[in-house]
C-alpha cells in the first residue's frame, strides 16, 4: 500500500535546490578550494610544514610546534604536530591554512610577554616517484598569519 499523505513530491523549486545542493556541492567546494565536502579521497596529497614564532621585548624567537601539544584537541594534534617536520595530506593542509589566525591567538595566550605572534605554513608538492622519501625537500609555498598580542 502507498502512504497517501507523503507520496506527493515537494514543489519543483525545492527539489531543484536539493538536487543542486546534493550534486553540486562537491564541485563548488573544489572550485572554492574548501576542504569540506570536496571528496577528493586521497587524490591530492601535499607536504606541509609549520613554523611558529613570538616576538617580545628581547626579539623574535621560534616556538616549537610540539610545545602546543597539551593545549590541542586530539584531532588538532593529529594535524598540527606532524607539521613540525613534514605532514602529508591536502585536506589537512587546507584545514590548517584556515586556522593559522587561531594558532597565533593561542600563542599570545601561552606567551604573556609576547607583543606579536606569527604562524607560517609551507605547502608543496609530493616528492617524485624516484625519491619516495617523504622528508625530501622541495619548494614550498608559504602562507603567513600574525596577531598583535594584547597585554
Amino acid at each position: 500500500m502507498v502512504d497517501e499523505s507523503e507520496a506527493r513530491p515537494p514543489p519543483r523549486w525545492a527539489l531543484g535546490l536539493a538536487l543542486v545542493f546534493s550534486v553540486g556541492m562537491p564541485l563548488l567546494s573544489r572550485t572554492l578550494a574548501l576542504p569540506i565536502g570536496d571528496y577528493a579521497m586521497f587524490a591530492r596529497i601535499e607536504r606541509y610544514h609549520l613554523d611558529l614564532s613570538v616576538t617580545d621585548a628581547a626579539g623574535t624567537r621560534v616556538v616549537p610546534v610540539r610545545s602546543l601539544a597539551s593545549h590541542l584537541s586530539r584531532d588538532a594534534r593529529f594535524v598540527i604536530l606532524p607539521a613540525a617536520s613534514n605532514g602529508f595530506g591536502k585536506d589537512q593542509t587546507d584545514l590548517l591554512a584556515g586556522g593559522l589566525g587561531d594558532l597565533t591567538r593561542l600563542l599570545c595566550q601561552l606567551h604573556p610577554s609576547a607583543i606579536q605572534a606569527g604562524a607560517r605554513l609551507g605547502r608543496g608538492p609530493l616528492p617524485h616517484q624516484g625519491s619516495r622519501e617523504p622528508a625530501a625537500r622541495g619548494p614550498l609555498t608559504w602562507t603567513e598569519a600574525s596577531a598583535l598580542c594584547q597585554r
Binding site: D3, R8, S22, A40, R44, D75, L126, P134
Partner: protein, 302 residues
C-alpha cells in the same frame, strides 16, 4: 523554446515521480543508525576492533584537551563548544542514534542528530573527515524519508531516494574527477600513501605487484567514474551496485578508511530497488494525488 522548457520540466518531474519498495527506507535508517552508533563510541571494543578505535576512546569528539588555554579553531566562526557542552552533546548524540535505530519520532530525531553531529564537527576544524561528512549528510537525508514504517509490499515515494542517489553520484563524480591529475595518474600519491604505511594487507601487496602504483591509480579512477555511468543507467544500475560493493570492499581491505566503506555500501543499496511509476507521471502531479496500488504501476528504473 517553450516546448523545450515543457519537455525539460516533464523530464525533471519524471525523475522524482514514482514509488519504490518501502523497505529500502527501513534498511537505510537501521544501517545509518548502526553506523553512527559504531562510529561515535567504542562500545564494541572488547569483541570487535574497528579502524577508528585507534583514535576514538569512549565517545568520539569527547573533550581531549589536557591543559588550558586551549586552541579554539571552529570551522564555523563563533561556534565554540566548551568541555561541558561537548560532554553533553556526545552523549545526547549516542542516545539519539539509539532512538533512530528504534524509529522513534524519525524526522525529529534525524534533525536533532544532524544538528548535534555538525555542531561537534564544525566546533573544531581538525575533526573533519570525508567519511564523517558522508555519514552526517545521510543522517540529514533521513529528515526527508517517509515517516510511516514499511513492510511487505508497501510502496513509498521515490523522490527522497532519488535525491540520495543523486548525492551519491555527485560524490563518485567528484572523487573520480579529483584523480584526473598528474600526481595521481603517475602513482606518486599512492607511493607516498604506501610509504606512510597507510596501505597494507594481502590485497595491497598483490595488486601493487600486479599493476604497479600507476596502474592501480588509473584503475581506481576508472572505477569511480565508471560507477557514475553504471549507476545512472537503468540497464546497468544493479551491475554498478555490485561493482561498488566490490570496490569499497577492496578499498576497506587496503586502507584504514574507518566506516567509509560500510557507509558507501549501504548508500549504494539505495540503487537496488526499481522505481515504479504511474503510466502518466505528469498527470499525477496535475491532479495532486499519488495514491496507487502496486499493480497499477510500471517499473521505470532509475
Amino acid at each position: 523554446m517553450k516546448a523545450r522548457w515543457t519537455v525539460a520540466v516533464h523530464a525533471f518531474d519524471a525523475r522524482f515521480d514514482g514509488l519504490v519498495d518501502g523497505r529500502i527506507y527501513e534498511l537505510l535508517r537501521i544501517g545509518l543508525a548502526l553506523l553512527l552508533l559504531l562510529r561515535s563510541a567504542d562500545f564494541t571494543r572488547p569483541w570487535l576492533s574497528l579502524d577508528h578505535y585507534e583514535w576514538v576512546k569512549g565517545f568520539d569528539f569527547s573533550w581531549s584537551v589536557a591543559e588550558s588555554p586551549y586552541l579554539v579553531s571552529p570551522l564555523v566562526p563563533g561556534l565554540v563548544l566548551g568541555a561541558r557542552a561537548t560532554w553533553l552533546l556526545v552523549r545526547a548524540r549516542f542516545a539519539l542514534a539509539l532512538l533512530l535505530l528504534f524509529r522513534i519520532r524519525l524526522r525529529w530525531i534525524a534533525l536533532l542528530l544532524t544538528l548535534f553531529d555538525y555542531a561537534l564537527l564544525f566546533a573544531d576544524r581538525y575533526r573533519y573527515f570525508h567519511h564523517l561528512q558522508v555519514l552526517y549528510l545521510a543522517i540529514a537525508w533521513l529528515t526527508l524519508s517517509p515517516t510511516r514504517p514499511a513492510s511487505g509490499d508497501d510502496l513509498r515515494p521515490a523522490w527522497p531516494l532519488q535525491l540520495l542517489r543523486s548525492a551519491l553520484l555527485g560524490i563518485y563524480f567528484a572523487s573520480g574527477t579529483a584523480k584526473l591529475t598528474v600526481d595521481w595518474w603517475s602513482g606518486d600519491s599512492l607511493a607516498v600513501l604506501a610509504h606512510l604505511h597507510q596501505m597494507n594487507g594481502r590485497v595491497w601487496t598483490w595488486s601493487s605487484n600486479a599493476f604497479g602504483f600507476g596502474g592501480l591509480a588509473k584503475l581506481v579512477c576508472f572505477a569511480e567514474l565508471s560507477l557514475v555511468l553504471l549507476l545512472s543507467l537503468r540497464a546497468t544500475r544493479r551491475a554498478g551496485v555490485v561493482l561498488g560493493f566490490v570496490f569499497h570492499g577492496l578499498v576497506s581491505c587496503v586502507l584504514p578508511v574507518s566506516t567509509f566503506g560500510a557507509t558507501m555500501a549501504l548508500l549504494l543499496a539505495s540503487f537496488w530497488p526499481a522505481r515504479k511509476c504511474r503510466v502518466s507521471p505528469p498527470a499525477v502531479r496535475a491532479r495532486g494525488t499519488a495514491g496507487e496500488r502496486a499493480e497499477d504501476v510500471a517499473d521505470v528504473g532509475v
